[in-house]
Subunit: 374 residues, 2 copies
């Protein structure tokens, strides 16, 4: 525990940029309303597998965050959570009465863990209720939605963060450090890819939303390709200027509505090139590799919830495997407490959506596409 | 030695498809004129570093091939070779008197090791002189040239092979076997890349032809990207149907005439996708990886003259490191002796040029391009 705490402290020191000017914002005021033991109260919206298997267990380990509420469309699910996590009736909401959360002083943060197309609505409703918003990736299904979410949070004076857990993962942080400090000289090229073979969900199974355009907004790219976009962006510290993408579709029935396999290349201002892959059709691609003047470094597997490892030159990339969701939430809680700036802000989410939209445009037009600016 | 001989025998049995119909061709007749010990006589055209450091030493180890002649534009170079390899005066040619090779019974094969743009001329002149042709990769700088070379060799009744040494390299053969036999299930995706940081040749240095369009025809793609094209083609056993490519240029002075870094993706008929990288700007990319239903296999480093290694699932890819040039030449000599068909024929070279041209077209137009058929 000491080691993880040390890491959290070090990471927090490195990533939180305090605001020195202007009046205290809503977030800072809310610091005074913190729950016992100084932990911020989280309400999870959407009680699917991610909430069940990762986020709730993580909230049993967090030092600055605790599970205090749930929002679910299913009374049955909410009931189970109430029993398992001793959640008071007053802290259980459904999608209709969710806005009443404005009156709940125990809830500081709403963590949006819904299907992609529902992110915008619930992030904005949470902001209007004066709650800080942590939103799972992808932040939403369009850059327009991202902009509205940012605007709503700014207007409400609440903080907005995207669930980019890798940006707090020790091996990723070590790779970012090596890229920034040019440990292996100037970065020149990145290969990155993440994908898996998605199950053939039976028709009528609620969980098949990932294969439905209306719910998911897109397929592999939206869901896991975004990790490759992220890796290229945080390794270079730059935004891609242009890209070219193509889709391979081998199963037009299963993937009738969303993308199956996408390959894309990106050019960065410093001259770094990146070649990326994402898929819902095959397992095993889960890595990035940074080619630099004097050597290579990278992670494989890179993007899972655990078991992250990699090499830097001839050595292993240093870092321990932590609970990434616990780290992500505790980081956000600390940002809120200190009225700092999160590095996984809404702008960060918006940037990925701009890249995503350029990729889809390139696929649609068959042409090279410039990436729009924030 | 026994092991290598066994491998050669096995590989020969696997790769030589005898012709059972039609009259004996020129190649088979020439079998009777073989040099002592049954070895075919090779003349090298172009005495640069590849001939000096790789091919001539390899010819000291070959069992079916021997160095008997040289063709050089430099009398000084030819003189050195004459002394070092005891080459008779009658077997030394320059670019002007080269056609007299038609009268030389000791020379069975002309191995073209010239800058890319000179391949066509010397391959065709060799064919017209009744010599079998082994031509370094890329076969030439355009598909039109490839077609003329194939036509000239067919017309002359001589065999034409391209120096695709990897197609005889044991680790590559093992990977091809795993792909064909679906050891890890159906192949689904390939990542492949080869590149290096090319030296800043001083102006006037003869060796800087690789940076000159007129001599090289292209840059990294022509020179080393072709290994990635080859890997994707021989792993799938298919021709790509369409592709999309982009170039990253960071040094427009050094790479004023030829391509620097190219990223491209290809779609194959079976649904396999491939993501490829080539560069003259950075070191370290030298690999391929095949993602299949039940696991991965690949080589890294994959394309050098030695030190090939890789993994298949959790094990090392089986194979020993051989002299790839010796193997390549002995394979061709055996094909000639047995009047077989080489798997690295002119058609194979043409196919790579068709892909290469599609890549350049995609870069030029910024659009997805269909690959032309043979």
């Amino acid at each position: 525990m000491t080691t993880r705490r040390d890491f959290l402290a070090a990471a927090a020191a490195a990533t939180i940029a305090p605001h020195f000017n202007g009046p205290l914002c809503a977030g800072q005021k809310r610091g005074a309303a913190e729950s016992e033991a100084g932990k911020l109260g989280y309400a999870l919206v959407g009680l699917g597998r991610l909430s069940t298997n990762q986020i709730a267990p993580a909230l049993m380990k967090t030092e600055h965050s605790k599970l205090v509420g749930v929002v679910s469309g299913s009374a049955e699910k909410a009931g189970k959570w109430k029993d398992q996590y001793a959640i008071p009736d007053d802290n259980i909401y459904n999608y209709r009465n969710f806005d009443r959360i404005i009156d709940n002083q125990e809830i500081d943060v709403v963590y949006v863990v819904l299907p992609n197309s529902m992110h915008e609505e619930f992030a904005i409703r949470a902001a209007r209720a004066g709650k800080h918003v942590l939103c799972e990736k992808p932040m939403s299904i369009s850059s327009a939605e991202c902009r509205r979410m940012i605007e709503a949070c700014d207007h409400a004076g609440v903080k907005l963060a995207v669930g980019y857990r890798c940006q707090y993962e020790p091996h990723h942080l070590e790779c970012i450090r090596m890229a920034r400090e040019e440990t292996f000289g100037k970065l020149q090229h990145i290969d990155a890819g993440f994908g898996f073979r998605i199950a053939d969900y039976p028709v009528g199974d609620l969980r098949r939303w990932r294969l439905e355009r209306e719910m998911a907004g897109g397929g592999a790219l939206m869901d896991v390709g975004i990790y490759a976009i992220q890796a290229c962006r945080y390794l270079t510290g730059e935004e891609p200027t242009s890209l070219m993408a193509s889709e391979i579709k081998t199963d037009s029935k299963k993937f009738a509505e969303v993308d199956e396999t996408i390959l894309w290349s990106m050019a960065f201002p410093s001259g770094v090139s990146a070649n990326c892959t994402t898929t819902y059709n095959f397992n095993g691609i889960n890595q990035f590799r940074a080619y630099s003047e004097k050597g290579q470094f990278g992670l494989k597997p890179a993007f899972g919830y655990g078991g992250i490892q990699g090499t830097a030159g001839n050595e292993a990339v240093r870092g321990e495997n932590v609970d990434q969701f616990a780290t992500e939430m505790d980081q956000f809680s600390q940002v809120i407490k200190q009225d700092g700036t999160t590095k996984v802000s809404g702008i960060e989410g918006l940037r990925d959506l701009l890249v995503t939209e350029a990729i889809y445009e390139s696929i649609r037009t068959g042409k090279r596409v410039d990436v729009a600016k924030v």
